[in-house]
Point group: C2
Chain length 203, copies 2
């Protein structure tokens, strides 16, 4: 089936982490940022539960890119952070990052990670997964020291942490798939892609 995929899948995301996860597993992708306004999708999705919203955002991104690329397999992804049923959006500045981390300290939250594959406007695969993370007790000084050590990189992820970097210092416990924490339900996505003949050596 490899011949169907002389062209690589398109990842409708600017995320370097997601592209790196796929490339490391042997799936190079073409990255095209979707330009989707996430706030608008969220505002229009008031009634959805968290998993459905994450899927809706992933699909909106994939659909925006797929429209201009007929026949191509387009992947979209999204990640939401939920604590006590409240969603936390990506912090806009370091002050907001500090407020979020202070809220997470000593408590559990969940990351809801969704991915969707689209071809010619049709959803051909989708998946959500959840991971549960416990942040250790953090004094305000510890939060400030962490943000000073990490700098603006803290603003790149929904939780203001990178578990694969200094963010590991913030956690007491991580339950669930690591790839889900990083932003893709990778093992399930790879299974789907193998069914599509990608990458040829793994099929």
């Amino acid at each position: 089936m490899a011949a169907r995929h002389a062209e690589p899948p398109i990842l409708a995301s600017a995320s370097a982490v997601r592209a790196r996860l796929l490339a490391a597993a042997g799936v190079p992708v073409e990255q095209i940022a979707s330009g989707v306004n996430e706030d608008r999708v969220k505002a229009a999705s008031g009634g959805l539960d968290h998993d459905a919203l994450a899927l809706a955002l992933a699909e909106a991104k994939a659909a925006a890119v797929a429209a201009a690329h007929p026949g191509r397999l387009v992947l979209g992804a999204d990640q939401l952070l939920v604590m006590d049923d409240r969603r936390f959006d990506k912090p806009r500045d370091l002050g907001e990052a500090a407020a979020h981390l202070t809220a997470f300290a000593g408590r559990e939250h969940e990351l809801v990670t969704a991915a969707v594959a689209l071809r010619d406007g049709v959803v051909v695969w989708k998946r959500t997964e959840r991971a549960r993370l416990t942040v250790r007790s953090l004094t305000p000084a510890a939060v400030d020291a962490y943000l000073a050590a990490v700098g603006p990189a803290a603003l790149a992820s929904v939780g203001a942490y990178q578990l694969e970097g200094p963010g590991a210092q913030l956690f007491e416990r991580v339950e669930g798939d690591f790839f889900t924490v990083l932003g893709l339900p990778l093992l399930a996505l790879l299974e789907f892609l193998r069914g599509e003949g990608v990458p040829a050596w793994a099929c």
Copy 2:
């Protein structure tokens, strides 16, 4: 407490992955390979269960290095792969790697990861953790294709796979902490190190 540690911890291991995990979390280490003959330790530890053996190996490595570095904090680590109570050692060649992966296919196995901290011959901290992995069904051809894609890098880890690389293609399911899979009970080790004042910004 940071003043106690003008000198970084020593990692009694040649493992690039372990050094990278610690450095990413803000803990640079000095790496000194222990030169310990693991086969000899295993032969002398016939009666130990898997966790105790992994700890004994981690401690043997740390002790060998600590002897020459009085006063320094020395970290040792080890990882065992266990399936149906049978231990699988690191494959010696690609033929053995293929045999191991064929044995793992369609089944669950465990990684037992141990770490020990020593100072002046005294164990000041230790920990084992386990992760459970399910390898998908693999034909002999799929095993060969994987090993051809990965090459001799397959011989670098006890399971002949790197989950953070093409090895992700082999798995159906991974339960347990990702750092434990990579070779260190990292979150617990970081908690211990913070108690030792390392790194200063996280304490």
